[in-house]
Symmetry: C2
Subunit: 447 residues, 2 copies
C-alpha cells in the first residue's frame, strides 16, 4: 500500500519511477501511441504508452511484452480499476496537471463490464439506480468531501466549546414527535418499536441529565409519502440542545455562529473546486442573520403581491421564497430566522411567551428553504401537560418524557437541521437526492 | 445566558458578584448557616447563606427577604435546577475548589419531586429506568465526555488524512450481513424494509465509487435475543473502509494508529479525572499491536490448560480472555489482532488467501473482548458469487451488491468496531449498558 502515489501528489514529485492506482476514465487508442486518463480520489493523470502493434516471429521477450501491453490497453474498459507502474515525466504540454506517466506495467485489479449503464446526463432516477457509478463523477465526489468538511467543522465548533456528543436510540417505545408518519418495527415478544422521527425527547433528556450542551448527527426516519425534492424517509439530522438559555435567541446565536464556521471551512478548503465544478461562489454569511417575526413576514409577503393560500398562519414554500427574496434584496443575506410562531402550528413542547402567547421558536430559512426548526422548550411539567392535552395528545403516552421534567430541569432549547437540505442549498442543487449518498423515499429502498 | 459562570471557571475569577446555575446535590441546613452544593456540567460549588430563622413583626423588607430565602433553601429538593446570584469569595478552608458563593438571590428554574427514585447504588436495571437521573452522577457524565473526545479524535484522524464521511442508509431492501437477527420494517405499498445490521455493503460501495477512504459512525441494529453484557439490539458502529490495500495488514495498521491517537487524546484530556472517578490509569498502547494467527492462538490457549468447547475452530469468550492474558503476560499489551480465520467462520465477502485458503481477516481483542472484525474484501465478482453460494446464500438476492463489483472495483478492506465495547473496556466497566446513553435490548425500549 505504501508504494502508491496519489494523483494530486504527482506534480510536486520528481521525474522517475512511480506507481498510481485508479479507474479508467478514457482511453485514446491511437495507432502509434495510447493514452489512458486514470482517475483516483484526488484527481486524474494521463498515462502514455508507445503502441507496439506487431512483432516478428523472432521477437525478443521485451517486444512480446510490449505487444501484450498495447493489446491490454486497447481492451481496457471504462471504469476498470488498475495499478500502473511507470516513469513520471513533467511536461508542460500535458494539459492535465503538466505530468504524464509512461506505462511500464499495468495490472487490472477489477475489470468493468464493457457497457456502462449510465452517463453523466442520465435521468436522476436512473443515476440513483446506479449510484455507485454516478458517484464517480467529480462533482458528486466533491459533494461528499464538502459534506465531510462541513460536518467536521460543526463538530469541532461544538467540541471546542465542551459540548457532549450523544447517540440517542433510534428504536423507541413510542412516537417522538407525532403519531403520523411513524415507521413501526415488530419487536421481541409481540411488542412494537418505532423508528425515531427525531432525537427530540432524548436530546432534551440530556439537559435534565445535567449534560449542559449536546449535539448529535444521526439518521432520523419519517414514513412520509411525499415525493418533493426536499423530503426523504430517512435523513441525516443535525441536532443540538443547550441549557440555561433565556429564549430562542440564544439557540439562534449559536446556530448562526456554527453555520458561519462551517461554511467558512468549506469556502477555505473547497471554494475553488466548487467554483470550477458547480459555478458557485461560496459566500460566508455575516452575523447576525436577519430575524423577522412571522406576522411581519406575512405582511411583507402580502405587500410583495403574494397571497399565502394556507389558512393556518404559517408560510408556504412560495411564501418562504418570497420572504427570502425580500431579505436578499434588503439585507443581501441568504439566511433569515422567522420567529414567534403561533402555538397552533408548533409542537406542544415549544415554550410560549407569557405576554404574546406566541411560541419562543424560529424557523431558519436558507435561500428560501426551511432548513431548521429551533425553540426554547417548555420545561415546567404542568404547563407541558396542558400544552400536550391542547394538542389532543394523551399525557399517559408521554409519561416517560414528562418524567424527565419531574425531577428538576433547567431552561433549555435547541434546533434540528436537515444535513441534505443545507448541502443542497450550499451547492445550488435542485434536490436533496443529488447530495444524499443513497436516497430513501417511498418507492426507493435500493441499492 | 451570557451572565452565567461555569463552576470550573470560578476559581480563576476574582471575588465579587457572580451568577451560577446547576442542580442541587446536597443541602446542609444548619441552624445558623445553610450550605448548598450546586453542581453544573463542569463541577460543584458550595453556596452559603447565613440563616434568618425568624423576624419580628416590624421586620424591614430586607429582613423579610432574608427569612424567605432561608425558607426557600430549607425547602430545596435534591435535583432541583436553580440559578443563584451572589458574591464569589475565595476561601482556602472550603474543600470544594477553595471558593464559595454567598447567596443574594436564588431562582428555582425546575423543582424536583422530593423523592428521588434511584440512588447511586441502585441496581443497573433500576438505574436504566431512570437513566436521566443516573446520568447526573459525575462518573456517568465523564463517560460521555470521554466518548466525545474519543470519537472526535478518531474523526479528526480520518479527516486529516482525507477520508470521506458517509451516512449510509439504515433502511435496506435486503439483509446486509445475514438473514438472522434482522429487524423488519413494514414499508410503503406492502413492501418490507430491513434495518441495517452494519454499513458493510454500503461502505464497500464507496470503494467502487472511487471514494478511496471512508468512515462512518452510526447506529446499527441486530434483532439479537441475547442478554449478555456485550450485546444490544441497537449499537453505535464505528466503520472505516479503504482502497488499494495489499491485505488485512493495511487495515490493521490504520486501526491501531487510530486507536492510539484516540486513547492518547482521552489520556491527555481526561486522564486525571478517570483516575479519580474510575481508579484507572489510561495507558496509551504501543504500536504495533501483537498479531497472532488463530491456529497459533488456539495452541497457546490449549497450552494454558483451557479446552475450547466450540467445534467450529473459533475462540470462545473464555478463549479470548486466555489469549489476551497470554499477550498481556508476554508483551504487556492490552490489544491483540487474531488473524487468518477459516472461511467457515467468516462472512462470504472476506477474501481468502490463495495458498492457505484462510481468510485475510482479523478480530481485534481489547482486554480479552472482541471489539472488531476487519478484513480484506473479495472484489472479484465471480469469486464472490462462489463464496456466497458456498454459504448457502442466493446470489440473486445479493444482486444489487454484486453489481458493485461488475463495473470495476479496487482491492479494499475495512473494519467495524463497537463503540460501547471500546468505552466499556477503556473505563473498566462490566457492561456496555453502563456506557450507553440509552441501552436497547430485547426487553428494553424505554425510556
Amino acid at each position: 500500500m505504501s508504494e502508491r502515489v496519489l494523483v494530486k501528489d504527482l506534480q510536486a514529485r520528481q521525474d522517475g519511477p512511480v506507481s498510481v492506482s485508479g479507474w479508467v476514465e478514457t482511453v485514446r487508442d491511437q495507432k502509434k501511441v495510447q493514452f489512458v486518463i486514470l482517475r483516483d480520489e484526488t484527481g486524474a493523470v494521463q498515462l502514455v504508452n508507445p503502441a507496439t502493434r506487431e512483432v516478428g516471429e523472432d521477437a525478443t521477450p521485451e517486444q512480446s511484452a510490449a505487444l501484450a501491453l498495447t493489446e491490454t490497453i486497447s481492451a481496457l474498459t471504462h471504469g476498470s480499476f488498475l495499478t500502473v507502474h511507470g516513469a513520471l515525466k513533467h511536461d508542460e504540454r500535458v494539459k492535465l496537471g503538466g505530468v504524464e506517466v509512461k506505462i511500464a506495467t499495468l495490472d487490472i485489479a477489477g475489470e468493468a463490464l464493457p457497457e456502462t449503464p449510465i452517463a453523466a446526463d442520465s435521468s436522476l432516477d436512473k443515476r440513483m439506480d446506479w449510484r455507485f457509478l454516478d458517484l464517480r463523477q467529480r462533482r458528486n465526489n466533491l459533494v461528499f468531501r464538502v459534506q465531510t468538511t462541513l460536518e467536521h467543522a460543526m463538530r469541532s465548533y461544538w467540541v471546542e466549546r465542551d459540548y457532549i456528543e450523544v447517540h440517542s436510540p433510534k428504536l423507541m417505545a413510542s412516537a417522538s414527535e407525532s403519531n403520523a408518519e411513524l415507521f413501526e418495527v415488530p419487536y421481541f415478544e409481540e411488542k412494537t418499536a418505532y423508528l425515531a422521527q427525531s432525537p427530540q425527547f432524548f436530546k432534551q433528556m440530556a439537559q435534565v441529565s445535567g449534560f449542559g450542551k449536546i449535539f448529535e448527527i444521526a439518521p432520523a426516519f419519517r414514513a412520509d409519502p411525499s415525493f418533493t425534492s426536499r423530503h426523504a424517509t430517512e435523513f441525516t439530522s443535525i441536532d443540538a440542545e443547550i441549557s440555561w438559555i433565556d429564549g430562542w435567541e440564544d439557540v439562534a446565536a449559536m446556530q448562526e455562529e456554527l453555520l458561519v464556521t462551517a461554511i467558512q471551512a468549506v469556502a477555505d478548503k473547497h471554494g475553488d473546486e466548487i467554483k470550477e465544478l458547480f459555478g458557485l461562489d461560496i459566500v460566508v454569511p455575516t452575523i447576525p442573520f436577519p430575524r423577522i417575526p412571522l406576522a411581519e413576514a406575512r405582511e411583507i409577503v402580502a405587500a410583495r403581491g403574494y397571497e399565502i393560500p394556507r389558512t393556518d398562519g404559517d408560510l408556504d414554500p412560495e411564501g418562504e421564497r418570497q420572504i427570502a427574496a425580500h431579505v436578499e434584496e434588503t439585507y443581501g443575506h441568504p439566511f433569515v430566522f422567522v420567529t414567534d410562531y403561533h402555538p397552533e402550528i408548533r409542537a406542544f413542547y415549544h415554550m410560549r411567551d407569557e405576554e404574546s402567547g406566541l411560541t419562543k421558536s424560529y424557523d431558519l430559512l436558507y435561500k428560501g428553504v426551511e432548513i431548521t426548526t429551533g425553540a426554547q422548550r417548555e420545561h415546567r411539567v404542568d404547563v407541558l401537560i396542558e400544552q400536550a392535552k391542547e394538542k389532543g395528545l394523551d399525557p399517559e403516552h408521554l409519561d416517560f418524557y414528562l418524567d424527565f421534567f419531574r425531577y428538576g430541569a433547567p431552561p433549555h432549547g435547541g434546533f434540528g437541521m436537515g444535513l441534505a437540505r443545507v448541502m443542497m442549498l450550499l451547492l445550488g442543487q435542485e434536490s436533496i437526492r443529488e447530495v444524499t449518498y443513497l436516497f430513501r423515499g417511498p418507492t426507493r429502498l435500493a441499492p
